[in-house]
């Protein structure tokens, strides 16, 4: 039997680490005495929570890029749309507590002299509706965009370029005040979520746990897909698209399926990101953001799922440290890391660690283990 298992060793380790973080981080914040060595500040909890949402975003990119060869350079758009959907709910939650104390309209609309809520803001006062939009809006956009692009057989660099154009166009649109999403400033000054103050430690801990759960769920969904026969077809499309077509697989349907799922996951990541950082603005659509996501995946290890998550966390931890210390070198650092990893660790940090572990284990046991399909499938992305 060569069928890969849903939960291999790496997956179990990964899920265990998430579970440990989901318990330990809130405990260190809520239970440990402030001032003790174990205490974690609320700021750190939200920061780590943000990393987890980035990890989920990276996972969504790895699903399409690592397994199906679709290099999206516009996934930040789906993340931002999910974020805006959540941001709209948080704005409506403010209610009459805004600066202008308008019972319904968010401050920026009062400022623009609008007298009614635009139709596309309707329903966002309901949490469940906002949650639905968090997945539906990115999903629908991905479906329409993917349907057009994949049906016309746009692939490779051309596809990457039009995904960049997509996110860039959305950025320009969201910058406009009359779009009704707060323009330049975006959406901010959130007060609470489901009645819990966003400033309280318990809410922040809760959001961290929710992010961890979402990451675990996203990981399991991805594993379910990539270990199914559909996952094998995706890899087949990545490696030899024409061969897959002539075997009777309608390649565009498969691409559309994963692209849409992936966009929905990115939307969920964005929705969890916004309450933890307290703002969403059009900058999230910037093409550079989307390119950064791809770098996280490449650094962590493309086509390994856990690698993408690891890459997102490592790169963003480095970003936090570096931008605090010497912000002007960050982009050079990021570029340098990307180049070095591409040259010396073509399978990313996790791929490199796995290979090193295998070598060590083999030397210890003094036995030769031939390369088999199960060890090669997920660790050898082509291209």
């Amino acid at each position: 039997m060569t069928a890969p298992r849903l939960l291999d060793t790496r997956s179990v380790v990964f899920l265990t680490l998430i579970a440990v973080a989901a318990v330990a981080v809130p405990m260190a914040n809520l239970a440990a005495e402030p001032g003790s060595a174990l205490h974690l500040s609320s700021f750190a909890v939200s920061l780590f929570g943000k990393y987890l949402t980035y990890a989920l975003l990276a996972l969504s990119v790895d699903l399409i890029w690592g397994y199906c060869g679709i290099l999206s350079l516009g996934h930040g758009a789906f993340f931002a749309l999910g974020g805006y959907a959540m941001g709209m709910h948080l704005m409506r939650e403010i209610g009459p507590r805004g600066v202008y104390a308008h019972p319904v309209l968010p401050d920026f609309m009062v400022f623009l002299n609008w007298d009614a809520l635009p139709w596309y803001w309707w329903g966002f006062d309901m949490f469940w509706f906002a949650c639905l939009m968090v997945v539906l809006v990115p999903g629908a956009l991905a479906f329409v965009f993917g349907w057009l692009a994949f049906r016309s057989r746009v692939t490779g660099v051309y596809l990457s370029i039009i995904t960049q154009a997509l996110t860039y166009a959305l950025m320009l649109a969201f910058f406009r005040n009359d779009m009704g999403f707060g323009g330049n400033n975006g959406l901010t000054d959130f007060k609470d979520l489901l009645g819990f103050s966003l400033q309280s430690d318990a809410t922040r801990a809760g959001l961290f746990v929710a992010s961890a759960l979402a990451l675990a769920a996203g990981f399991l969904i991805c594993r379910f897909i990539v270990t199914s026969r559909l996952g094998q077809v995706l890899v087949s499309i990545r490696d030899a698209e024409a061969r897959a077509r002539f075997l009777g697989y309608r390649v565009e349907s498969y691409k559309l399926f994963v692209f849409t799922i992936s966009a929905m996951m990115a939307g969920v990541a964005g929705a969890l990101y916004v309450p933890q950082v307290g703002i969403i603005n059009p900058g999230e659509f910037s093409p550079a953001n989307s390119i950064e996501i791809v770098i996280w995946v490449a650094v962590g290890g493309r086509g390994l799922l856990a690698g993408a998550a690891l890459g997102a966390i490592l790169v963003n931890a480095a970003k936090t440290l570096l931008t605090g210390w010497a912000p002007e070198i960050w982009l050079f650092f990021l570029g340098g890391v990307f180049v070095l990893v591409t040259i010396f660790l073509p399978r990313g940090v996790l791929g490199g660690l796995t290979a090193a572990g295998d070598r060590l284990g083999r030397r210890r046991r003094r036995e030769y283990r031939p390369r088999t399909a199960t060890s090669g499938r997920t660790t050898q992305p082509a291209e």
């Binding site: 559909l230 061969r243 077509r245 075997l247 009777g248 309608r250 349907s253 088999t372």
Partner: protein, 250 residues
């Protein structure tokens, strides 16, 4: 011609295609009966591969009829649709899924449902495993079943691809240069394999290796500049002065 189409498996009539003004296929007509095996030969650039592109939906002809089973207009279907109708194809450059095992390559090729959600739910059945074992025996890759496609030699990739073709259980097999890169022994084995599966399937084989074509012992069609210049037994076409001039006598 219509009567001819009625009993045919593959029917091409007056097919033409130009690329930037260059006529790669020029009024090509060719009919294959059900269960027939046919060898197609011709110099480089004669249009052999392009003809297969047209039959399998990769390229749409500018003019002409391309019918399958006497009635289905293949120019109205896409590659995946034509594959599902029952036309399988081996590429000139052997193409297998390099990061899948030999066994998984066959599994993915097996005839079956191809819809996204069917495939998402699919689990390997005992019947599928049995069929894979059979195919592995047939193509002689049983000892390498767990190796990756990438680790196979050139000739073995050719066989794996032929195996994948058989796994599809197509009505028509289009096989582009199966013996390229094979040793003489492998070439003879391949000819034997094709002879064994002939009859149940309609097979078109493109090959430059004349010993191989001779070993197949079937009707030969000679293509030149996108059109058929001779057709008949190997001895018949070998004696044709035009064939000697454009191809054999080089």
């Amino acid at each position: 011609m219509v009567r001819q189409a009625a009993n045919s498996m593959l029917y091409l009539d007056g097919v033409s295609i130009s690329f930037d003004g260059f006529r790669a296929i020029n009024g090509l007509s060719l009919v294959m009966a059900p269960g027939e095996m046919r060898a197609v030969i011709g110099p480089n650039g004669a249009g052999k591969t392009t003809m297969m592109d047209i039959i399998t939906g990769k390229t749409r002809p500018d003019a002409g009829d391309v019918l399958f089973a006497g009635e289905i207009d293949l120019t109205r279907h896409d590659e995946a649709g034509i594959a599902r109708l029952g036309i399988g194809r081996k590429f000139q450059k052997p193409t297998v899924f390099e990061t899948h095992s030999v066994e998984d390559n066959l599994l993915l090729a097996l005839k079956g449902r191809r819809g996204v959600f069917d495939v998402l739910r699919a689990r390997r059945t005992a019947a599928e495993s049995a069929r894979i074992d059979e195919l592995l025996d047939l193509i002689g890759l049983e000892p390498r079943r767990r190796d990756l496609g990438a680790d196979l030699g050139h000739g073995q990739k050719q066989w794996l691809e032929i195996g994948m073709l058989l796994a599809q259980d197509p009505k028509v097999l289009l096989i582009d240069e199966p013996a390229a890169g094979m040793t003489d022994a492998e070439t003879a084995q391949t000819a034997a394999l094709l002879r064994r599966i002939a009859g149940e399937h309609t097979i078109m084989v493109v090959e430059h290796d004349m010993d191989f074509v001779r070993a197949l012992g079937v009707k030969v069609t000679v293509l030149h500049e996108g059109t058929v210049i001779a057709e008949g037994s190997i001895d018949h076409v070998s004696a044709d002065p035009r064939v000697v001039e454009v191809y054999l006598g080089r």
